[in-house]
């Protein structure tokens, strides 16, 4: 049977969250880098991240999911002024 005829009825996507398997990291021009020594785990970067790309484990910010981070830079701007633990570096560097 032709490939397109194998699609589920109604175009239903049978499993949730499959976009997780799609990489949008290639959109990135600037890469977020965190200084975990400075980070206070306030979670502001996590809550504001449009790409669900701030990794939190056991209540602690541990880094970025670079497969999905588009490099928008919101995390670096929103990191509180007294902390400023996140820097955006040129992806090419």
């Amino acid at each position: 049977m032709a490939e397109h005829k194998k699609l589920p009825e109604g175009g239903v996507i049978e499993k949730g969250g499959t976009a997780h398997g799609y990489s949008t990291g290639g959109w990135r021009k600037l890469r977020p880098v965190v200084d975990l020594g400075k980070c206070t785990n306030c979670m502001i970067c996590w809550v504001m991240c449009p790409d669900s790309a701030v990794i939190v484990q056991d209540g602690k910010m541990v880094g970025f999911d670079l497969e999905h981070c588009k490099g928008c830079g919101i995390c670096a701007v929103e990191c509180p002024d007294k902390v400023k633990a996140i820097k955006m570096n040129e992806e090419a560097d």
Binding site: A19, T24, V47, S52, V77
Partner: protein
């Protein structure tokens, strides 16, 4: 209300890998709302950035049951979904005590304009759902055409600032007031920068029986001509300049939930946005002051209603 650490412990219901722009204001809104629901959620979306960006076939970013059918009927679709679940409960296919939340999402185009009649109908039929409008102020997904939510004097591709007109000539539709006039138990305006306020309002709206509504400011780097990293900062400025007041109307009583200590000049919000660039030409100073005056009077109207029964 959940603390940010408690929210962070909950499951991520919107995965990465969606194709919304870098710096888009919509995903933080959706993520905060989905995490604030205490229970399983079923959602619908109107056609728009959120729908297109999160569900490019065969991918979906949603980790909850989700449906899209057309541009104009996110509220009608969720009405049907909610009714179907009610029928399934009646037949014993779903436990009768299972508390499932229903959320409809729509952009300003799909809500203020195209989906207004279906929203009005669903509110009037008293379906048990929350409608969330992410308001970025134009049809951003189709190429930045003006909507009835577009701010005054904003440059869009169908209200271009040039020699004849200086951007959109009309004041925006006040959708939250229209919704309040449906006598709903809860309606509010929110902004993603104030995650605590947004989360609290979402939790409240989802706990109430009957139709509820959140109108959420959603920054758009593409259509606002702004830097992607400034999105949340600009959402905050829209609130601190009182262009986008945070308030709620619960059982007809108005409460302004955030009053800036110092009301910032509107220009602080407009200046970083390319869509308002023309307002900073010397010959347009009168337009800028007219815009400021209108924002001031709208804010004053709201302050006068604070704490009062408005519906």
């Amino acid at each position: 209300m959940a603390t940010i650490k408690e929210l962070a412990k909950k499951d991520e219901l919107l995965s990465g890998g969606h194709r919304l722009c870098a710096g888009c204001g919509i995903p933080p809104i959706v993520r905060i709302i989905l995490r604030s629901a205490n229970g399983p959620v079923v959602a619908s979306s109107a056609t728009g950035c959120l729908e297109v960006g999160t569900t490019i076939y065969p991918y979906t970013a949603w980790r909850i049951p989700w449906i899209h059918s057309a541009f104009e009927n996110s509220a009608a679709t969720i009405s049907g979904v909610e009714t179907a679940y009610r029928a399934l409960k009646k037949r014993g296919r779903i436990p009768a005590d299972k508390d499932i939340k229903f959320v409809a999402f729509g952009g300003d185009g799909g809500t203020y304009d195209i989906g207004l009649q279906s929203l009005s109908g669903a509110l009037e039929r008293r379906h048990n759902f929350l409608y969330v409008c992410y308001d970025n102020g134009a049809y951003m997904n189709t190429g930045i055409q003006r909507s009835s939510a577009t701010p005054l004097f904003s440059n869009t591709t169908t209200s271009q600032a040039g020699e004849v007109i200086q951007g959109k000539q009309e004041w925006r539709k006040d959708l939250t007031r229209i919704v309040v006039a449906h006598n709903v138990p809860f309606a509010a305006q929110c902004s993603p920068h104030n995650w605590a306020d947004l989360s609290k309002k979402a939790e409240k709206a989802l706990a109430v029986k009957g139709p509820t509504f959140l109108n959420v400011m959603s920054p758009c780097p593409l259509g606002w001509y702004t830097k992607s990293e400034d999105s949340i900062k600009l959402a905050k400025l829209s609130v601190d300049t009182c262009y986008w007041p945070l308030y709620e109307v619960e059982n007809g009583v108005m409460k302004v939930t955030y009053k800036p200590k110092e009301k910032k000049p509107l220009a602080e919000w407009l200046k970083p946005q390319g869509r308002f660039k023309h307002l900073f030409k010397p010959e347009n100073a009168n337009l800028l002051s007219a815009f400021q005056a209108r924002v001031d009077s709208e804010w004053q109207r709201l302050i006068d209603l604070d704490g009062k029964q408005v519906y």
